[in-house]
């Protein structure tokens, strides 16, 4: 579904991604782990071209995204939902409006239908009673669930998560992970950057370990967690587990 060929990304002289080759298939749930600063966010953001790759190509559902014109890129981005560490809900819109603005304004979905979808999705993430609440009145966990629902409202084929629980108070992590687990079980293709090793072990089909701009090791959760081959993976896991 997404194919990454020789992806490189530099900020000025700082080469953050150094030749990444990877493929994500339909329905797969992949968890990306690795030390802070290793390039995980940059990798994820290159997938939907929020960051422009310096070299290499991203192919999504058969279309090469790199070098695509603005309009077609916008179309394809609609198929790739993204959830941010800092939620990034629109503070001037209610929960429901957060879910309907992009479908109505940029996808041309009928307002009435968008409303119905929004209500259904908010219920799905357990926030059926918060339709008219503004983000500022919601807890962190609730905001992140709205953000997930907002991405789902575009009816995407893949969901990208960048440390979705890192900014949350510990007691709220569970409610967000639960929503993500349900989503995985429904068959959604997911790429998740996270430090929640329990989630990785339980939900992931595959785990990638990134360090210093490379994907150092890739395998099933069992292989990575119980039997890591690379020294750097072992070192990292010994610190976080």
């Amino acid at each position: 579904m997404i194919k990454v060929n020789h992806l490189k990304k530099s900020f000025g002289k700082n080469e953050v991604l150094k030749d990444i080759n990877e493929e994500f298939s339909q329905g797969e749930v992949v968890v990306v782990i690795g030390p802070s600063g290793s390039g995980k966010s940059t990798f994820l953001r290159c997938l939907n071209l929020l960051e422009e790759p310096s070299d290499g190509e991203i192919v999504f559902e058969g279309t090469t995204l790199t070098g695509l014109n603005e309009k077609d890129l916008n179309q394809l981005r609609q198929k790739m939902g993204m959830v941010f560490q800092q939620f990034n809900l629109f503070p001037h819109k209610t929960a429901k409006q957060n879910l309907t603005i992009a479908p109505v304004k940029s996808k041309g979905v009928d307002k009435h239908q968008a409303d119905q979808t929004a209500v259904k999705l908010l219920r799905q993430v357990g926030l059926g009673d918060k339709e008219d609440a503004y983000p500022a009145s919601l807890s962190g966990g609730q905001q992140q669930r709205v953000a997930i629902a907002r991405a789902l409202a575009m009816d995407p084929d893949v969901m990208l998560f960048d440390e979705p629980t890192s900014a949350l108070d510990p007691e709220m992590v569970g409610e967000v992970l639960k929503v993500m687990k349900d989503l995985a079980q429904s068959g959604m293709t997911m790429v998740v950057v996270t430090h929640e090793m329990g989630f990785a072990r339980e939900v992931a089909d595959r785990v990638l370990f990134m360090d210093d701009g490379y994907i150092v090791e890739s395998g099933t959760p069992d292989m990575i967690f119980s039997n890591p081959k690379n020294e750097r993976t072992q070192d990292f896991l010994s610190k976080v587990l």
């Binding site: 603005e70 916008n74 939902g81 941010f84 575009m154």
Partner: protein
């Protein structure tokens, strides 16, 4: 300060002449006269705060500039067979307006000094005048000559002949103000001891105010300095000749006396109502229309400037944030230049410079200048507002597949607007207050009308106080309105 502005105007004129084809100054073939007759209208510039020569009075229920000079202007226009159109402009700006072709001639009790002759031509002298000293009535026995004022503070109108004459008072400290009414107020409030004023004008004021007393100053005068003449652009001899013929007739038939008497009636009328009875109604009842007109014009200028300023400001802000070639440096240069120069000069520049090419009404020129000016400030406010919105907002929108424009329009801009609302409110209030600057080109906004009321009512302070209250009412209601909308945008 005033000298500096005059210097700048001179520079401006010099600069603007670069744009127009040099006209032969001496070889004149009747084209000036022809031009006026073709246009069918003679545009006369004056400064209507100078009774009995030019001042406002109500004629047939309408406010008009009247006075001896205006009757001369009417006679000249009649003799030329054209309509008369009067433009009331500040005295300082009259000659620039003439040279910039905003007016055809200047009739404003102007003395043809050697200095002025260097930049404009004059008609024959149509009125011999004398120069007075104005003092407080209570000082009548103290001051009676130039010598008696030695070493004291004396007021004069800036840019006037009197400014030079005041040098003849030994060791006098000189205070120059643009507005005669401010000088009279300064005199009454003991800030200055005397004013050097043109004779008939001083008598007109003293005759209407028992706190004032005036006497003939006994100045040494050049021949040039004793009369009033009409000013023309250099090289328009055919027009000068035609006007001189009318002036000769006026002299022959001794019409100025008749005109002065008529002007005296208008001045008396300022204190009488239509049936000739003394006005007993209050000040506001007599002059509220001036304040209303001024307020409406001020509102019109401010509202237009806010509207066009917002459009221009948004455009400039987007240009400054854009990556398209040249857009950013262009917008930056514009903003820096406009913020780095005084609004006063911008207003004069647009009015006078445009006068060289086409006839832009003063109100339009004023609205354009204030809009162009506020656009630069609003651009900076909007730019900082857009920058103040967290980058994650745009990224979230883009990740949903929204286009750059949609993201700006629906996500970033509404939040920026909320952040900058107080700063925008400040700017709107500034616009209301600063719009008063367009009074220098004769736009009848609130400050301008206040000047008019002060000169016809012979009241110094009360009009100022009323104007202050009106401005406060305007800005305070605007603040309330803005607060209301700010509350509606607040979702935190």
């Amino acid at each position: 300060m005033k000298k500096g502005i005059k210097g700048f105007i001179a520079l401006l004129i010099l600069f603007s002449t670069l744009f127009i084809p040099a006209e032969p100054v001496l070889a004149e073939d009747g084209s000036a006269l022809q031009r006026v007759q073709d246009a069918g209208v003679l545009v006369v510039g004056t400064s209507a705060d100078f009774p009995p020569f030019e001042f406002y009075a109500v004629v047939d229920g309408e406010r008009q500039v009247v006075g001896m000079d205006m009757m001369i202007a009417q006679k000249v226009a009649d003799d030329l067979g054209v309509e008369l159109q009067i433009q009331d402009i500040g005295f300082d700006s009259l000659l620039p307006a003439l040279e910039a072709r905003n007016v055809d001639v200047v009739i404003a009790g102007m003395t043809p000094t050697a200095e002025r002759r260097r930049s404009v031509d004059f008609s024959d002298i149509y009125f011999q005048t004398f120069q007075n000293i104005m003092i407080r009535a209570e000082d009548e026995d103290v001051y009676d000559s130039l010598e008696s004022l030695s070493g004291l503070t004396v007021g004069v109108q800036s840019g006037s002949l009197q400014e030079d004459l005041a040098q003849q008072i030994p060791d006098a400290e000189i205070m120059s103000l643009t507005d005669l009414n401010d000088l009279l107020l300064a005199l009454k409030t003991n800030r200055i001891e005397a004013i050097v004023m043109q004779g008939p004008n001083a008598e007109a004021h003293a005759g209407h105010d028992e706190d004032l007393h005036t006497f003939v100053g006994g100045f040494e005068l050049d021949d040039d300095d004793q009369g009033s003449a009409i000013a023309f652009r250099q090289g328009e001899d055919s027009l000068v000749d035609a006007v001189n013929e009318s002036l000769a007739e006026i002299e022959e038939q001794n019409l100025t006396e008749e005109y002065l008497a008529e002007a005296g009636e208008y001045m008396a009328q300022a204190e009488l109502d239509e049936d000739g009875e003394e006005i007993e109604e209050g000040f506001i009842a007599s002059y509220w229309e001036y304040f209303l007109d001024g307020t409406l014009i001020t509102l019109l200028i401010s509202a237009s400037a806010v509207f066009f300023g917002l459009i221009l400001g948004s455009l400039l802000a987007l240009m400054r944030l854009s990556k398209v070639f040249l857009l950013k440096p262009l917008a930056t240069a514009y903003v820096e230049f406009v913020r780095g120069t005084p609004l006063l000069i911008q207003v004069m520049f647009i009015y006078f410079a445009s006068g060289m090419f086409f006839n832009l009404p003063a109100l339009t020129a004023g609205i354009i200048a204030v809009s162009l000016n506020s656009g630069a400030y609003i651009a900076e406010i909007i730019r900082s507002g857009i920058n103040s919105v967290n980058k994650g907002q745009d990224e979230a929108a883009r990740s949903l597949g929204m286009s750059k424009n949609d993201s700006m329009r629906y996500i970033v801009f509404p939040q920026a607007l909320k952040n900058i609302w107080p700063a925008l409110g400040n700017e709107f209030i500034t616009i209301i207050k600063e719009s008063s600057i367009v009074s220098v080109i004769g736009v009848g906004e609130l400050i301008f009308q206040t000047r008019v009321v002060r000169s016809i009512s012979f009241q110094g302070i009360l009009p100022l106080f009323i104007t202050m209250l009106i401005y406060f009412a305007l800005t305070f209601s605007l603040t309330k309105l803005l607060n209301f909308y700010e509350g509606r945008m607040n979702h935190d």
